[in-house]
Amino acid sequence: MNNAPPVRIYNATNELAKERNRAAAERTLTAWIQSGLTLIGFGVAFDQIFGAVRRTLPTLDSSLNRDVTTAIGLGAIALGLALLALTVIEYPIKLRAIEQGNYLTQPLYPSIALITTAVLLFGCIALIAVLLNISTSGLSIGFG
């Protein structure tokens, strides 16, 4: 029985592979940042542009009222923030896994399924909100 800790043998190919894994993790992170940016940007733009249009053209009869656009904008921003928060938690775990000596493939994280479901739900809620708003304002666009 040999209780001595295993000697870590230097292997350049392994070291290079670790660096590639890190680069791949970073590219995945940028993809998540882009998704978060899209959601936050959409939320901000939706609220701000709608607010500017309403202030410039106060007599414009729109099927969407200010509160609904603000709610949709805030929802998108909240979703983007949740996504980014998950990414900020998950990425260091991946890096730590790479940096440890004996790398083992991590179990599949459910975050991608979670985020996709959340975006889908957000889209459905926004659709229902817009449809309800159109029906209560008497279909003022298109068929008005």
Binding site: E26, I49, A52, P58, G73, V88
Partner: protein, 184 residues
């Protein structure tokens, strides 16, 4: 390689070339029997063993260089999205408000301007940091020293946290504006 050649070896390899031709191995060798294989013969086995290791590492280094390049391109896309959005949101809101006939407060325009500037600043920072990281990585790959993976602070984490802060500020600002509007 050429320095390892001796007249004796040259003659032997020349003869070997002819003997191959005698077995009908190729038309070229009949004209010029001193092929590259024959020239490399004395150090062939030793160099093959050395090349088997080196080529693996060299190819891995090339893969790393390509991976670093893809990572830089990903950062370019991300930064471009941030800068583009930052520039766009402010321009669009300003353009819409320029048609304004009624004098009103421009809180919303201020928020969009602040957010636009913050996004542009974050985009520029991300791109600069990514360029510095890429240059360092290239230098490490090209270096003669043994390549070792170095744990270090990632650009991605700082950019994510920056975006998170901007997002929280935007959320809070829009939320407070909505509350003030409902109270008014």
């Amino acid at each position: 390689m050429c320095s390892e050649l001796t007249i004796d070896h040259w003659l032997k390899s020349y003869a070997a070339g002819f003997s191959k031709n005698a077995r009908g191995l190729g038309f070229i060798n009949l004209i010029y029997p001193l092929t590259l294989d024959n020239l490399m013969e004395p150090s062939n086995q030793r160099s093959q063993a050395r090349n088997a290791i080196d080529v693996g590492i060299e190819l891995a280094k090339e893969r790393n260089r390509l991976a670093a390049e893809r990572t830089l391109m990903a950062w370019i896309r991300t930064s471009l999205a941030m800068i583009g959005f930052g520039f766009g949101i402010d321009s669009v809101v300003s353009a819409i408000l320029s048609f304004q006939t009624v004098s009103d407060d421009v809180n919303s325009a201020r928020l969009s301007r602040f957010l636009g500037l913050a996004f542009i600043a974050l985009g520029v920072y991300a791109l600069l940091a990514a360029i510095v990281d890429h240059t360092r990585e290239l230098r490490r790959i090209r270096g003669n020293a043994q390549y070792t993976y170095k744990p270090r602070l990632s650009v991605g984490i700082t950019v994510s946290i920056g975006l998170l802060i901007i997002g929280v500020l935007a959320f809070a600002s829009i939320f407070i504006q909505a509350i003030l509007r409902s109270l008014a």
